[in-house]
């Protein structure tokens, strides 16, 4: 950009907006040394301009509840969309691009659902549509995929993409808590929202994975084709059993490429202690990926929070200021294809099962037989005595087996008279 002062219009003034304003103020001189230009917020769009706010921005910034005060202001160069949701935010982003303004957004939902349309529009208008803050907070995963390793073919990408879920699972594991109690603590500490559905049911992670798939493969993976399993039904018993076997249970987002087809999903999985992702505790995020050049790399950091996410927004702003050639998706002409999908059920993993069975002779043989018929080969079995209940837990760890066969086996086993239905099943990362 040629101007000496860059003016921002910031839409939405919650956690991330506050973080951005704090950083712009604390690092003002430093940002000037980096860019040789000043970056200033001119206008902030909010729903209620009279709302009391804990953090007060510097004087001179105009508050408005009319988005046209941003879109129609010729002095505003970059629109920062931090409203969230997919209605007003979408309207704002479209109108901003049509007004030839650059857009920075932290909105994973809108990119996962309307990304293609918006990137096409930005490509036509030759404007930037940047979104480093949409995945992994301050972790530089978006630019890494768009730029650094864009010459690599990505074999797989595996991430801990939701800090709330990871915080809950860490608490359950370290303090032997139930899901409900761990969730309560997460809410008290501000790591989970009052309605935690998006985080604990894997939807937030799904939006992020779809964005990462677009960047890694140039493919549009519709969210309704993605397997999405959350963590709310995870039993502390399985977390402890997994530990005994040398695993941590984590909510994983994964995509693998096999012969040109993508296999992707969000699911809880047993992660072996030696795996880099097993070591990611608390509200942290990490993305491990494997390229055909770079090999395995991992990026780790805080997946949320005012300053980390504000830092990601700031990085986009600075990238836009630095250049005149915008790289929105990492593909020439932002050409995103429809995804070639291999259904999740045809993918193979190692597996963890916990059956609840009546403790009588021959039971193990029957279970093993049903699995054997479906090419599920057993690696380890543990059966524990439990005199208090009618049913005792039997845990199987298997070698690699197709998910379809696994689901079929569970369905058959859960119908057996001596089996308590509701078998627990998790994939195992290798």
């Amino acid at each position: 950009m040629d101007k000496n002062v860059i003016h921002l219009g910031v839409a939405g003034f919650g956690t991330v907006g506050t973080g951005l304003l704090k950083l712009l103020s604390a690092n003002k001189d430093w940002i000037y040394r980096r860019l040789g230009k000043k970056v200033e917020v001119k206008t902030i769009l909010v729903k209620d301009i009279y709302k009391k706010r804990e953090f007060l921005p510097p004087k001179g910034i105009k508050f408005t509840d009319n988005m046209h005060d941003i879109i129609d202001d010729p002095e505003i160069d970059i629109v920062v969309e931090l409203i969230g949701g997919t209605t007003i935010a979408r309207e704002l982003i479209k109108k901003a691009i049509l007004a030839k303004k650059h857009v920075v957004t932290a909105n994973k939902a809108i990119l996962a659902e309307n990304g293609r349309e918006l990137f096409e529009l930005a490509s036509i208008q030759n404007t930037a549509l940047y979104f480093e803050a949409s995945v992994g907070g301050g972790i530089p995963i978006i630019q890494t995929l768009k730029e650094n390793i864009s010459g690599n073919k990505i074999k797989s990408l595996t991430g801990i993409l939701n800090g709330t879920a990871n915080f809950i699972l860490t608490k359950m594991s370290q303090e032997k808590l139930t899901f409900e109690n761990a969730l309560k603590i997460a809410q008290e500490k501000g790591f989970a929202e009052a309605d935690p559905t998006l985080d604990i049911e894997g939807i937030d992670a799904a939006h992020k994975l779809i964005i990462l798939i677009m960047l890694a493969y140039g493919q549009n993976y519709p969210i309704n084709k993605l397997t999405i399993e959350g963590i709310s039904s995870i039993d502390p018993y399985d977390i402890q059993m997994a530990k005994e076997f040398g695993y941590n249970i984590k909510l994983i987002g994964q995509v693998k490429e096999r012969s040109g087809y993508l296999q992707a999903g969000i699911f809880p999985a047993l992660v072996p202690n030696k795996h880099m992702l097993a070591k990611i505790d608390g509200p942290f995020n990490a993305i491990l990926l494997e390229g055909n050049g770079v090999g395995p790399i991992m990026l780790y950091g805080q997946g949320a929070g005012d300053l980390p996410t504000g830092s990601a927004v700031l990085s986009d702003i600075m990238a836009i200021v630095r250049t005149t050639t915008y790289n929105n998706t990492g593909f020439s002409n932002d050409l995103i294809e429809e995804a070639k999908i291999l259904e999740d059920r045809y993918t193979s993993y190692c597996h963890y099962f916990r059956f609840q069975v009546e403790d009588r002779p021959g039971v193990l043989a029957i279970l093993a037989g049903i699995m054997g018929e479906r090419n599920i080969s057993i690696a380890q079995v543990v059966q524990r005595q439990n005199s208090q209940n009618k049913y005792v837990p039997v845990v199987f760890l298997t070698h690699k087996a197709q998910l379809k066969n696994v689901k079929d086996a569970i369905e058959e086993i859960d119908k057996l008279s001596f089996v308590h239905p509701g078998t627990k099943h998790y994939r195992i990362l290798t």
Copy 2:
């Protein structure tokens, strides 16, 4: 760049050059989809054009031993410098920039020693001088510092910057080997060179740290002012003792900012098991940094090897092709200041000591007294029986204490009649 085919001149055709050529060939169509342009090697500069080579590049590429075949060729857009060293490489880079060619280099020594001069020249010529491959192989640390977190003030940066040293220390730790035996294995596996001095004495890591300091702080830290300690004198006994206390010994590169001054050094240190860097094993590298916005982030991957380093070179090439505005250092006008340095000896760490003392009453009290006089407060002590030797080892772990006081204490203690000189001392990361 406006051209449809980008021509490279590659100087040097060893490990990294081979990796680059392999990637350009294997990912040819993918790179085209990313850029909408072809990237082709036109000329390769080598010392001996008749040398037998294991990897043969595609036909049509010209081999030459005359650098002017690259510099004076108007068709060549980007010069890739992979010669290494600081003589011919420096001449080539300067001449290439003067000929208005963009330069990509993996040469950490030249950037650490002549970086300022070369960046100034590139700034005047408005050409790119990119160097992602110079630190951390395929790990995207250079772009992360130049771009993503460039709006952050960096509080500290701590890295495992040399894969050879980390491989040796991992072997020593896991298999209880001596340094000499671990080095031998590293050499057999190709992780260490015949003359391993640069790697094991910390010089390679020092070059890398100086580059990272330039990018993080915009300061030129002269290598002769940097504390550089290697790993060749590390005793397996201390590695095992550290383990018992819950630490791994790693070769660390670290810079911390305190009130505008930088403290930096390369040194072996005890890293607590819970620290992210304690988990980095084998030939891997990792850089953990803390920004005032992003908080802690860590980047992890292979620090060397043909394809990972080739991938980093490729990322620079693609970044240059994508833009017309070059960001070489991450600072406006590439303005690098002289470093404001706080001497290493005035910095505080926790410390590990192993004294060899005669086993007789009062010895511990004397050692503790000398330390107490210098404000070195002891956190843990272990004394082991050892009937075979005249001297028994006494290990102290201390709270934070200034390095100067620590060195003074060691000097005094090593002079005591009942102490065997050659006390082992390592810093402890917290």
